[in-house]
């Protein structure tokens, strides 16, 4: 495939022409990018920002907004990339605020091995999420200039929320999830 044309044995046919004649047939193409260079370490970069409101009398943390900015080289599919970041942020909000495995140490049993008490975020827990990419091809990474975006979106969110909470209430929480119980406990120490 080359600039909107299918090229075969010297003939160039526009894709629109091919698709007209396609009927029930399927065109399958395969492609790959070059491997990463051996003499360079390829990294992605990102930064997350959280805006929170803390109810200091009930310990409730409301995450109002998360801004996630990533440099992953060229964006191949903007919607998939943005969805990946949103998904990472939402999972990380569970990590930051609600998700915790509770083990009874004398019984050796997980007490919340269910979705009733192991609390993942619901749709109402999801704040405004702003996703931005630098979208600059990293020419040294590979011929596409694209880099990975699997894990980066989940890594910084909980820390950003924790920093925002510390900034809001003047006391730092040292454990996640930052539940109402832990917020009230931290505030009780400084009051």
């Amino acid at each position: 495939m080359e600039r909107g044309h299918i090229v075969s044995k010297g003939a160039r046919t526009p894709i629109s022409e091919v698709s007209k004649k396609l009927e029930n047939n399927t065109v399958i193409g395969k492609g790959s990018r070059w491997p990463n260079p051996e003499n360079l370490s390829i990294k992605t970069f990102g930064a997350h920002f959280a805006q929170v409101e803390v109810d200091t009398l009930t310990g409730e943390i409301i995450v109002e907004k998360v801004v996630a900015v990533h440099d992953i080289g060229r964006i191949v599919n903007p919607m998939t990339a943005a969805s990946q970041v949103q998904g990472g942020v939402i999972q990380a909000l569970g990590f930051a605020l609600t998700e915790e495995r509770v083990v009874d140490r004398s019984l050796g049993r997980v007490m919340n091995a269910d979705l009733e008490w192991y609390k993942i975020p619901t749709v109402l827990d999801v704040p405004e999420i702003v996703v931005r990419f630098t979208d600059r091809p990293d020419r040294r990474a590979n011929n596409l200039g694209a880099k990975g975006l699997g894990e980066p979106p989940i890594i910084p969110t909980a820390a950003a929320v924790a920093n925002a909470v510390a900034n809001a209430i003047g006391v730092r929480l040292r454990h996640v999830p930052m539940t109402p119980a832990r917020v009230l406990e931290a505030l009780a120490v400084v009051r």
Binding site: S106, N112, P121, L124
Partner: protein
């Protein structure tokens, strides 16, 4: 799960005849199905009540209060605009109860009779006291969601959001069995499990809730319901507060404050209600009442935060009645 038979009678009388030992009544099934699946309920027969007409919906007769059929779905109550005006605490209490799907299936009677959510109780492998064992595992174990007040041998908490709301309206419930009918105050219907009473409700064998009734006088009260959760939806209450009062010339009368999620029963302290009679519900009076309500609190290892939370929720709920 063992085999059981299933019947779907069309009339209440027929259903009552079918309710005998080993038989369990099924309405929305949102609690019962889970109990059966986890081996906590072992019926040999289910009597499906959903075919019975006449137990659904609500009626208001001027001077005679409000009557709600036990099979009315929670979502019908929550979304009725007339009911929201008439008895706002009910719709407010249901707004954050479970999820929309569960509220569509769940019924008033089933909600009031739901069993507690203690994770030791719900774990089939744990022989806790309430299930006939020798001790409460939560008392010395993982107890962040458990009772700070009023517990005896078992530290589970009353899970219903609707029950505190209805108790704030002095609700009575009507019960029927093949032997006869009776009515009790909802506030007297819940049991603190203790001694020989290893159960949460004062329902008798073969008995069904047929309706709940709110007396006319209670409908004059303003009211609100606040619920603290550890996420924004689909959570049982960490603490919930139903507050009601008749407000006249800026002063509160017939005050009711009822808490959920803090004790094995919906929790209220008559002296606190009395303390607020004639009060303008200023911050100091509200907090004084809250302190009275929580005076005997005995938090466990992980649930001391509930005392702080309850105190603030009581204040906010009461303040909102005069706001």
């Amino acid at each position: 799960m063992s085999l059981f038979s299933y019947a779907k009678p069309r009339a209440l009388g027929e259903a009552l005849k079918l309710l005998k030992n080993g038989t369990i009544a099924l309405a929305g099934g949102t609690d019962l199905v889970g109990l059966i699946r986890s081996g906590l309920a072992k019926p040999n027969a289910l009597v499906d009540l959903t075919g019975i007409e006449g137990l659904r919906g609500w009626t208001r007769e001027k001077g005679k209060g409000l009557r709600i059929g036990a099979l009315t779905s929670l979502s019908d109550l929550e979304t009725s605009p007339q009911l929201r005006k008439l008895a706002p605490i009910i719709s407010e209490s249901l707004r954050d109860a479970a999820t929309l799907q569960l509220r569509n299936m769940g019924t008033v009677g089933g909600n009031l009779l739901q069993r507690n959510r203690c994770w030791y109780f719900r774990d089939e492998a744990v022989p806790c006291w309430l299930k006939g064992g020798t001790r409460c595992f939560a008392a010395e174990g993982e107890n962040r969601y458990h009772a700070i007040l009023g517990a005896a041998e078992c530290v589970m908490v009353s899970p219903s959001d609707l029950a505190p709301a209805l108790i704030a309206y002095d609700t009575e419930i009507d019960l029927a069995s093949s032997i006869g009918r009776r009515s009790v105050k909802l506030s007297q219907f819940y049991i603190t499990p203790s001694g020989k009473q290893r159960k949460e409700h004062a329902i008798r064998k073969g008995e069904l809730i047929t309706s709940v009734r709110i007396p006319e006088a209670a409908l004059e009260r303003r009211g609100t319901f606040l619920k603290a959760m550890d996420r924004k939806a689909w959570s049982f209450a960490l603490v919930s507060v139903a507050a009601a009062a008749r407000i006249k010339d800026g002063k509160a009368h017939d005050v009711r404050v009822v808490l959920g999620g803090v004790a094995p029963c919906p929790w209220w302290v008559p002296a606190a209600n009395k303390l607020l009679d004639g009060s303008a519900l200023d911050d100091n009076s509200c907090l004084a009442a809250a302190d009275l309500i929580l005076a005997n609190a005995q938090p466990l290892r992980d649930n001391g935060y509930k005392v702080t939370l309850a105190r603030e929720l009581i204040r906010r709920a009461l303040r909102s009645l005069v706001a």
